[in-house]
């Protein structure tokens, strides 16, 4: 029986099975996991939300957005400002809405332009918001940074899991919908798509804004586990690059790519950071460069490579077995 072919045809059910196992694992984790491992898991799930929602727009349309940090930071700040006044779920909704509007406006302004200007712009937005909030904080409120009221970490874990599940489901249903088809046509050839009746500007802006909702929500949910944050931390451009690295690592354009990439990256980042503290930045940079250079199709791209290599080995084994059989007769 050809193992690799088994894998290929049942790929979908294998993925679903994997996800269910993962969810079960996370749900039962508080029973045996300590404080730090729970933090790691929360971050892994958060990266999944960021990577999947980033791929939702940038992976399909081909417009590379560096804005995730802007919406993510908005989420963190929503918690910072509202944590004492409003219940957690409400803050999530508010941050999601603000992110949607912010992304919508940014999209209207910049998605009419060529891709590179959109990328520059989205990058600048993060720095812009970070700087502005820094100023407002310091001058008007006379403070630097915020402390977060700690929430029970099991609650946080489950909430982040819930958010991750919602994000993945949303990405899945969108990709199978008309909107998904329109987005892929834009990624395939924007001019042709426009000529086939696709209102490209509206589709791009709408999808971009939708993806921002989840990023904002992720910021809200992770905040209580941070204990402290300021504008430099919340709006750090690193949070814009992590989802991209995760998506590239896992293999863009598809759903399982960003999920796998985010989980792997989140795990590596948290565990490596603990052991290699000072060398972490160097390691991060090197990993990024290596991944880009040698795994342009991400980890998913490894599958065909492995399949070929593995298939070759299995072939040889089978031939060897057959030769033996013939030799006997």
């Amino acid at each position: 029986m050809n193992i690799t072919r088994l894998f290929a045809t049942h790929r979908k059910s294998l993925l679903v099975g994997f996800l269910i196992l993962l969810i079960a694992f996370v749900l039962t984790f508080p029973l045996y996991g300590g404080a730090y491992p729970t933090r790691v898991l929360i971050v892994m799930l958060m990266y999944t939300v960021l990577a999947v929602s980033w791929t939702m727009f940038s992976g399909t349309t081909g417009y590379m957005s560096l804005a995730p940090a802007a919406f993510f930071g908005t989420g963190i700040y929503s918690t910072a400002l509202l944590q004492h006044y409003l219940p957690f779920p409400v803050i999530i909704v508010i941050a999601g809405l603000i992110s949607f509007v912010l992304a919508f406006l940014l999209g209207l302004v910049t998605l009419r332009l060529k891709g590179i200007y959109f990328t520059i712009f989205s990058f600048g937005l993060v720095v812009f918001i970070g700087n502005t909030i820094n100023y407002v904080e310091a001058e008007i409120f006379g403070r630097h940074g915020w402390y977060f009221e700690a929430l029970d970490r099991t609650t946080l874990l489950y909430t982040m899991l819930g958010l991750a599940v919602v994000t993945v489901l949303a990405a899945y249903f969108i990709s199978r919908s008309r909107l998904g088809l329109a987005m892929r046509s834009i990624g395939g050839n924007e001019e042709a798509a426009e000529h086939m009746g696709v209102n490209t500007t509206r589709i791009k802006v709408l999808t971009f804004a939708i993806s921002a909702i989840f990023m904002g929500a992720a910021g809200v949910v992770v905040a209580p586990s941070l204990s402290y944050s300021n504008s430099g931390i919340a709006f750090s451009v690193t949070y814009s690059f992590i989802p991209i690295v995760a998506a590239v690592l896992g293999g863009m354009g598809q759903l399982h790519g960003p999920i796998i990439g985010a989980l792997v990256f989140g795990f590596l980042e948290k565990t490596l950071k603990a052991t290699l503290l000072t060398y972490f930045m160097l390691g991060f940079g090197i990993i990024m460069v290596v991944v880009i250079l040698f795994l342009p199709n991400g980890l998913i791209g490894l599958v065909p490579i492995l399949r070929d290599k593995l298939g070759g080995v299995i072939q040889k084994l089978r031939k060897g077995g057959q030769a033996e059989q013939h030799a006997d007769t």
Binding site: S185, N189, E194, M196, G197, V198
Partner: protein
């Protein structure tokens, strides 16, 4: 009855007029051939009609509605579809999905999934690609990719179809097959403008021909009129007849 009319159509790029003061019309149900040397402005004219480029001056009317200032997706929904000189398929999507895009979004009204699928398979059948509908388009030959473009455009249910060098790079047998396809499309009631360099195709199926040269309209009329037109022969056809089309 003209389905498409242009008056004084002009387009400047910087100081250069790519299309200069062109008046034209296309009658409903006919095939209009559009010929001219490279750089004559044919594709620019297509771009002006489809909304890809704005007019510098002049007017284009489709079924008596001005097209000036409308965006390509709006013009598509009004009933004009096109193919492209450099094939612009959606390379990583399967053939069926390419055509589905046209079926879903080319219709001004909301289309159900079932209806769209039906439109798409009809279009694929018309161009003869039903067998490969699941293949990713980038794996197909250029000839087939051009057909995918045609099917995709047909799925938008156009009344006017602009074909840009459909036959470029085809061998004589493929050209005949393409000519037959274009005739089939016309027989379904769709008006066609075709840009071509392959004279056999133009002369074979066009009802009328329009000749552009340096952005200006040199002549238009029936095939015979054009074939006998001195100016046209000098500029363009002369080379072609030597090539023995």
């Amino acid at each position: 009855m003209p389905i498409l009319e242009g008056q004084g159509v002009t387009k400047y790029f910087g100081g250069l007029a790519a299309v200069s003061n062109v008046d034209f019309h296309v009658d409903q149900g006919e095939i209009l051939g559009l010929i001219g040397p490279n750089g004559a402005g044919k594709t620019t004219l297509f771009n002006l009609i489809s909304g890809a480029l704005p007019l510098s001056s002049g007017e284009i009317r489709f079924k008596d509605q001005k097209l000036n200032g409308l965006k390509p997706h709006q013009i598509c929904r009004m009933g004009i579809a096109r193919t492209f000189q450099e094939t612009k398929v959606f390379p990583n999507m399967p053939v069926s999905q390419n055509v589905l895009v046209g079926a879903f979004f080319g219709n001004p009204n909301r289309v159900s999934a079932a209806d769209a699928a039906g439109e798409a398979s009809q279009a694929l059948e018309l161009v003869g690609l039903s067998a490969v509908s699941t293949a990713p388009v980038k794996d197909l030959t250029l000839v087939s990719q051009k057909r995918v473009e045609v099917a995709r455009a047909l799925a938008t249910k156009p009344e006017l179809l602009l074909l840009d060098e459909l036959m470029a790079g085809l061998n004589p047998a493929e050209v005949s097959a393409a000519m037959e396809l274009v005739t089939r499309i016309r027989d379904k009631g769709i008006t066609i403008i075709m840009v071509e360099h392959v004279m056999k195709a133009i002369m074979g199926i066009s009802a009328r021909v329009m000749v552009l040269h340096h952005g200006e309209k040199l002549a238009d009329g029936t095939c015979n009129e054009i074939a006998c037109n001195r100016k046209v022969i000098e500029v363009y056809l002369g080379e072609e007849t030597h090539a023995g089309s």
